[in-house]
Symmetry: C2
Subunit: 453 residues, 2 copies
């Protein structure tokens, strides 16, 4: 017996690219077979690992049945690339096979005509599932629910339930049965494992869990992730405000969501779209990134403008120009350390208006301590470098000032952004470095004008 | 029937801090009761949301039984703070109640004497669990397994298994039964739900899943996260190289790990320890952060040194000093966009040596396009600002050069770091901005010396 073998897309990238780079660009049968053996998650990764032409060649191998599964796992840009290139008939035959969850996920990418045609051909239960999901936003639980679960009338005995269950297929991740009352409303959940230990004549509703695991469909996915970690179940029933049972959310769905969110946060910090394709067309990539460059240009201009105020000083003391990057860099680094701690504190709920003052005081003291240490180090170094003790004093003082302001900004900026419902993880760093650049240059060149000219 | 009510630690921070700030610092009974109602995950968050004294006051309320659960959910720094403050007798009575998983997690924080005493008092099965886990590293599956699972001899019929199961308590997240053969080795898994549909006389081994969900204990947690997402089970059996069944890992354990990893990555990027406490003592915080400031000082010195090469030029053309931050900033931003994409590509397995060349070419073209656009914008702006077209030309050319080099560095740096098994998410950004600073200043001031002096 072997432990699970990891089928992976990575070893296939190289053969595909080299086979398709030859004069007669076709994939060998061995490569084709290997591609078709991959689970759809890996086909998705493989497609995203390939540039334009090879990507389309591999896509052509995938059956209409599997295409929906594969697209479901991909990022929007790469999805669009494949869908835009599909023939009308291929698109139609793929759309006709989409599951409710896939139809919801791909709704914006599929022609409205195909969307409604697919919807009409679904069972009533599936139609309801799609329409329910579409009532919610992407980051709400309701949008991510799965209608493949077992609900049971609460009037049955455990023996009757066992008999029913024997006739049904169990969806994966089932560890709970959802009960509904006579009015068809959600009435609680029973652990599948409690059924085993129950007396045959026991009423199923007597087996109800005390801590009801149900969640509201209008909750945010981020709230749910913590709950799922705490309640130890493989799934949670999802209800609306009137206690209608809409579906369930599995710990697998939540895991996928958490992983994607973590990835997105890193991309967004660099001003990238979360759907950015590694091999997107050059023009489109350039256009998107230009926006972020433009925003950052404005902040750099502010720094330059600050420096410009001290043109006359710089003309006389060129050493100041040489040392400027050190002042800006130390402030930026120290500030971003405080900022990152504050952002984590806000995300975990460790930081709130009640204890912000305590963190603020602590961070100022940390800034003061590191400010003293590094202003001495850098001050002495700069004094010797330019053989002029006054320069050492000026840069030392500027660094001390900048590190203290950096600490204050690192706490205040994320709290203010959070108050205005702006995610501090996105814009916090840009605002912070603008502040530390401007304050750093102002302090450094201002002190330079006073003491060195 | 109500949907799950979210008990949270956040509303408690404020009353605790204000009640303990009074002349007679005691917690009201209402507050104490609210604290004791929280699940241990939230008590952990609450403790981490409180500074020194209030934290210890709340900790004193927690029973010896619950303390292990709470510490298990906390970060190392805050754990240490609480443990260091505990009386010998309290520590002993807490240690005596630790579960195997808690003992493993807290092993470095607990006196060796208490560790071995607790271990000796465990059942043989629990002792094995602890000793097994201790054979592995923190980020290996073996360290994170849970020994609370059901294993069944493969020689039984489904009826016999059902009878056995009725007598046992099911651990949470159970959707699989693990089979062991006559030699006691792992022999495959059976879905609990398949048992329902089986004939009573059917051999349990005939129900074995085709895709064996077992994983090896020496695998990395990061590999497992993807597998768990793909295989749709609430748990995976864990085996060693000789197919001994060591335990299982649940999707809940994996979710917790993924969330922590995402959080850690953000902290590490800012040079912070993943265990950093929001209210750590000032001195310790300052000391730790000083290291990262020191590293960044070295890179800033490199930038200053580059500028210093052009001291004579700067003396004559002070406009260059004013515009320097723009060149550095644009290069750093453009480079970090490419870097972030490459790091995500490496993490997902989308980027490998096979397709790196294609990404490299694409990124250079993106850099070229944005280089042309922004060098024109900035060049014209700077030309007007200083009423000197040549300055516009010099900064424009420097930005074009820097954006192209930034794109190249953004691909090459993470690939090289990855080759040397260094996580590019940690040091990539520092190296990249050093490169873009040095190249940007060199190009800008070098061209300035040629054309403006």
């Amino acid at each position: 017996m072997e432990a699970t073998e990891i089928l992976s897309h990575e070893p296939l990238i190289d053969p595909i690219l080299s086979e398709l780079a030859e004069d007669n660009p076709v994939l060998t049968e061995a490569t084709q077979a290997a591609i078709l053996e991959l689970p759809s998650e890996d086909v998705a990764l493989l497609l995203e690992s390939l540039p334009g032409e090879p990507r389309l060649k591999v896509w052509a191998l995938i059956s209409a049945e599997e295409r929906g599964d594969v697209l479901f796992e991909m990022h929007d840009d790469a999805r669009r690339h494949l869908i835009n290139d599909m023939e009308e008939s291929d698109l139609r035959s793929m759309a006709a096979r989409l599951s409710p969850q896939e139809l919801v996920e791909l709704n914006e990418l599929i022609p409205p005509k195909l969307y409604s045609r697919r919807l009409k051909l679904m069972s009533l239960k599936e139609q309801t599932a799609v329409n329910t999901a579409m009532r919610f936003e992407d980051d709400q639980v309701g949008r991510n629910i799965d209608s493949d679960f077992i609900s049971i009338s609460e009037g049955l005995t455990s023996q009757q339930v066992m008999r029913l269950l024997r006739q049904w297929e169990f969806p994966s991740h089932t560890d709970l049965l959802c009960l509904v009352n006579e009015e068809g409303l959600y009435a609680g959940s029973v652990q599948l494992t409690d059924l085993f230990n129950a007396h045959p004549q026991q009423q199923i509703k007597d087996l109800k869990m005390e801590d009801d695991p149900a969640v509201r469909a209008d909750m945010q996915m981020s709230e749910i992730a913590d709950l799922s970690y705490q309640n130890h179940h493989a799934m949670m029933p999802v209800v609306d405000e009137a206690d209608h049972l809409l579906g369930r959310i599995t710990s697998q769905d939540i895991l996928g969501w958490v992983q994607t969110e973590a990835e997105n946060q890193l991309l967004q910090q660099a001003g990238l779209s979360e759907d950015e394709d590694l091999f997107a067309p050059v023009k489109r990539s350039a256009k998107r990134r230009a926006v972020w460059l433009g925003i950052n240009l404005c902040t750099a201009l502010l720094a330059s403008w600050t420096i410009g105020l001290f043109e006359a000083t710089l003309e006389q003391v060129v050493a100041l120009a040489i040392l400027m990057p050190i002042v800006a860099s130390m402030g930026g680094i120290a500030g971003s350390q405080t900022l990152t701690l504050a952002i984590r504190g806000l995300a975990l709920g460790n930081l709130s208006s009640s204890n912000a003052k305590i963190m603020f005081q602590k961070e100022i003291l940390v800034g003061l301590l590191n400010g003293i240490v590094w202003s001495l180090v850098i001050g002495i170094m700069a004094g010797f470098w330019f053989s002029q003790p006054a320069i050492g004093f000026v840069i030392g003082a500027a660094i001390l000032v900048n590190l203290i302001f950096a600490a204050m900004s690192g706490v205040i900026i994320p709290l203010v952004l959070d108050k205005f419902k702006i995610d501090p993880a996105l814009s916090g760093a840009v605002i912070l470095t603008t502040v530390t650049d401007v304050i750093g240059f102002f302090a450094f060149l201002g002190l330079g004008s006073l003491f060195l000219v």
